[in-house]
Symmetry: C2
Subunit: 141 residues, 2 copies
Amino acid sequence: MSAQDDRSKGTLIELPPEECVALLGTTTVGRLAFVDANGQQLIPVNFTIIDEVIYFRTSRDGILAGLADGHEDIAFGVDHHDVFRDGWNVTVRGTVAAVTDEAVAETVQSHTRLHPWAGGDRPLVMAITPRAIDGRRVKGH
Amino acid sequence: MSAQDDRSKGTLIELPPEECVALLGTTTVGRLAFVDANGQQLIPVNFTIIDEVIYFRTSRDGILAGLADGHEDIAFGVDHHDVFRDGWNVTVRGTVAAVTDEAVAETVQSHTRLHPWAGGDRPLVMAITPRAIDGRRVKGH
């Protein structure tokens, strides 16, 4: 076995759900994967998590606005990896729809962490409700 | 408008394809989105790019092995964002399939950048062939 092969033998640890939720709270940008009429989409969004619901904001006319009426099968992922190739990833699978409760929407919009990454006017508040959450920690060496 | 609102007005710049390809070469972990029999998947993979084809390795029995016979609609994304909320993202849309040319597979497997993030034995070499590539740079302030 070569040194290169040795280096590729990372260690992978499945994470318990509560640690996955905690890790989601350590970062502010995730990627939302879903299929729409144009096929597979994968879009980074700035998010916050409140009571295990993931919220993000979007404009009324973008690709994400097409999710406002609800999508039953999305995946949302966050991950972190350092230059030593240690890291973790958490993937949420569930549903997404626009928040229709104005009090909830206002709470989310006032959340200091929830500045949309791409800026601009983003009045739609969307909620991802997890059906399943899983994650892994990887030790690269 | 509050200070918070000011901070949310990021600037978004669409990137030309050649810059997208160059940015893909600056990082080693991307996320692959596709739908299989279990629904929407979103999986981080360690990758390399050679001649505008994205390669990654996987085991013969994981979720990614299910792509070996080919999948016509995947999205693959990389992004970077710093603590000042400046960043970029590049998304490739295209097809994926196992590499059947042994010479190509050997070249990829010997590529020093392509150590699978999660380690383990990963004999399958997969290739993502882009159909479209787009990217954006975001200035958070």
